[in-house]
Symmetry: C2
């Protein structure tokens, strides 16, 4: 367990992840090409959202423009999500229904972002409270984003 990736669901199996990604791409009339597989695999390997430079390095031989274009396609297909944390670069991660719901530890000093899972009961309480709040505000709530901002171990 401790050596396994923290993610559950489909993502614990690379083959299943590929199947799911291909399926979602097909649903919007897109193919699961080798570049897109490289990107998805790199994101699956990481335990935190990756920036474009990180993705280019992790995938090895993908053109920058292709990375941007494919991430956009994967985003439309519901396979990846863009994360913005602060003002630096955009970061990308697999969607939560592939990796499980999680939040981010954002280091205000070095900008590093790490995934973190909040206890289920806390999430449940929060979801309940936010649902009430959204209803009161006439807002159709889809999901929430919770970032913990502070200083990471390395920077302190």
């Amino acid at each position: 367990m401790s050596t396994r990736h923290r993610h559950g669901k489909a993502a614990h199996d690379v083959a299943a992840l590929h199947t799911e990604a291909a399926s979602r791409l097909a649903a919007v009339g897109q193919r699961f090409t080798s570049n897109r597989r490289l990107l998805v695999d790199a994101l699956a390997r990481a335990d935190h959202p990756l920036s474009i430079p990180e993705l280019l390095e992790a995938t090895g031989d993908v053109a920058q423009s292709s990375a941007y274009r494919n991430l956009s396609v994967l985003e439309r297909a519901g396979v990846v999500a863009k994360v913005v944390t602060n003002d630096e670069w955009a970061r990308y991660e697999l969607t939560e229904d592939l990796t499980g719901h999680h939040h981010h530890l954002v280091c205000g000093s070095c900008g590093a972002v790490r995934d973190v899972v909040v206890p289920g009961d806390v999430e449940a309480d929060l979801d309940r409270a936010l649902a009430v709040l959204a209803k009161r505000e006439g807002f159709e709530l889809q999901h929430h984003r919770l970032d913990l901002v502070g200083v990471c171990k390395k920077c302190s």
Copy 2:
């Protein structure tokens, strides 16, 4: 009450806000100039984070470069905070110790951002849980950001 701004603390009084802003600017060796006052007042009037274009319009006659530069100064002084919501423009708001802790309703359709206050007990529970989590992760927690993402009343 219903016709007043929802913010409490120092911000309920423009004079107090100015005094506080001037004081914080002075603390970092900066002046409270007319342009900075225009920016602060515009942010105080709004009940949501403002983008640069919105700020330029709200302030009337401030050069774009001055807006960026002054917002940067005000950010360093701890008077304003930059908010990034999604991938669009950067938005700015007064810091939470001036306006009170709040969160954001982010419309995924039109990009609008509106401030919202979560019930105190929910915040308290959340703070407690996050503190435990941060400690376990060796992360020095400073604050949290919670966005409610969905579709606003106007877009649904």
